[in-house]
Symmetry: C2
């Protein structure tokens, strides 16, 4: 089924213990749609400035992403700068320049309004709500959020959470949103707000998927070298929801498969800066990594 994603397209400046890149392609909408495009043709709703490089637009178009909803307006593209800690897990935001994103008012085309699957990236909750107003009756709506909105727009955020089918959130944010100490309790609290599906992302520690009564744990693929974690969570969600949209199957078994696919794609994302590695992932690479994942996690029944 058709998939629409509303999110950011950005230029990121990233410092890691291994190196630095300035003004490289990033943003939740970018990573999400690139990952989803491995399985379906996502439609990206976002805004960029006059400085958005033609080669970056060409890359997204080449990768089977519908850009009818990518608006170019006067001004500069959204910019984010961050520095990762030595363990590559924590990070500090060095700057956020909203630029053209400040006046972003997502407007869906008639075709996008009829989308079967919708993903609301971690934009301001009022914008997420405005997108929800525009869609007809999607089969599946998922959202992401971030610490900023939990602390500055909690009420608006919770009212969006109440209206979606799925929430993607990282463990710290889940704790911040619910005050619950364990991920199981935090997920149950978010489910009680409405969504059947709560996916708690834990970075290099994988993801916990609470789907109604079903609980599934998808471990992350352990890598020798992590180059840049930026976008891994959006990549995870993009592959997860892209796989669901492509298969149009929301069964418990398929949601588990989708989580594994999300973890595999996220493992590619962190192997390069920006979209450097992700852009070169093809079906063969995904199949190879899936086989490697099975080798890593399979075991025979113990004698008990």
């Amino acid at each position: 089924m058709s998939l629409v994603v509303v999110g950011s397209v950005a230029y990121d400046s990233v410092e890691t213990p291994l190196g630095q890149r300035d003004d490289v392609l990033g943003g939740s909408g970018t990573f999400f749609s690139l990952a989803a495009a491995a399985f379906t043709r996502p439609s990206l709703v976002a805004v960029v400035g006059e400085d958005f490089r033609p080669e970056d637009e060409a890359l997204l178009a080449e990768k089977n992403i519908d850009l009818a909803g990518l608006t170019r307006v006067p001004g500069k593209t959204f910019r984010w700068g961050g520095r990762y800690h030595s363990d590559m897990n924590g990070r500090d935001t060095l700057f956020t320049e909203l630029n053209v994103f400040e006046k972003f008012a997502p407007k869906l085309t008639p075709e996008q309004r009829r989308a079967g699957f919708l993903f609301l990236g971690n934009i301001q909750p009022t914008l997420q709500a405005s997108v929800l107003e525009q869609v007809d009756s999607p089969r599946f709506v998922a959202m992401d959020t971030m610490n900023l909105w939990i602390s500055t727009a909690r009420d608006e955020l919770v009212s969006v959470v109440r209206r979606v089918d799925a929430v993607f959130i990282n463990d710290e944010e889940a704790h911040q949103l619910t005050g619950k100490r364990t991920m199981v309790l935090a997920a149950r609290e978010i489910q009680a707000m409405g969504p059947d599906l709560v996916v708690i992302k834990r970075g290099e520690h994988g993801a916990l998927v609470f789907n109604g009564d079903d609980v599934f744990y998808a471990p992350a693929f352990p890598l020798e070298k992590v180059v840049d974690p930026t976008g891994a969570g959006d990549t995870f969600a993009g592959a997860f929801v892209g796989y669901l949209a492509a298969s149009a199957d929301l069964s418990t078994a398929n949601v588990r498969r989708a989580a594994i696919i999300g973890a595999l794609m996220a493992s590619f994302c962190v192997e390069g800066y920006s979209v450097e590695r992700l852009r070169h992932v093809d079906a063969a690479a995904i199949r190879d990594r899936y086989r490697a994942f099975l080798e890593l996690t399979s075991f025979d029944a113990p004698a008990l």
Copy 2:
């Protein structure tokens, strides 16, 4: 095959966000041998003081632990106090009173010298070495260590690492010991020192098992409520090595099974203070948790 463990028996004072317990049974040797005793009859080599409570000794004896190597000497039992952070992962040591442990010089009985399996708990490296001098030709020797010895007795520690078959170590310690940024690189560095088997413990994030060229990931069992993480790593190692000793099978497949068993037993440990939960774990409880673990991690092959 017979299993000997050399470690500490202690009284712990623990503060968690949920509560506090003082002078409760703890120590690496205690948790390790209680967990191993679910699969084999381990022989515990440790020292306690005159204040060691008869009911604690009776508990260990009842649970099928051979206490011929548990020495009682004048003075007080080793005491450790710690406070867990709000997320239950990090902790601060509030005090360490070595007491009778200060003069601990483990001496193995003739039977213990012929042990097939030996585990060196996280005691001082020179003591670990003195135990290695006493054993005949064990089939499998594993060791644990801690940050204190990495910073204060690195050379002695590395010389013990060179002589064992397996190292159990947590992720921070592996980073501290090797300076390597990812667990894969840290494990390869430790393997290069000698041990074929390197098990990197990651607390609630499970364990990575590097066994020769084989890499296996055993996720931890996600729990609704973690009461007290003290002893989880020793419990993991105790069940892991206890299962290996009971089966006398060091094949790749069996090492993977042992890691899963270790993760299951550790999940019981953290459900209570001290050994409160662990002491009541029987074969039926282990089987039930194994089934729950399968439900949590199983998935069908995706269409790729």
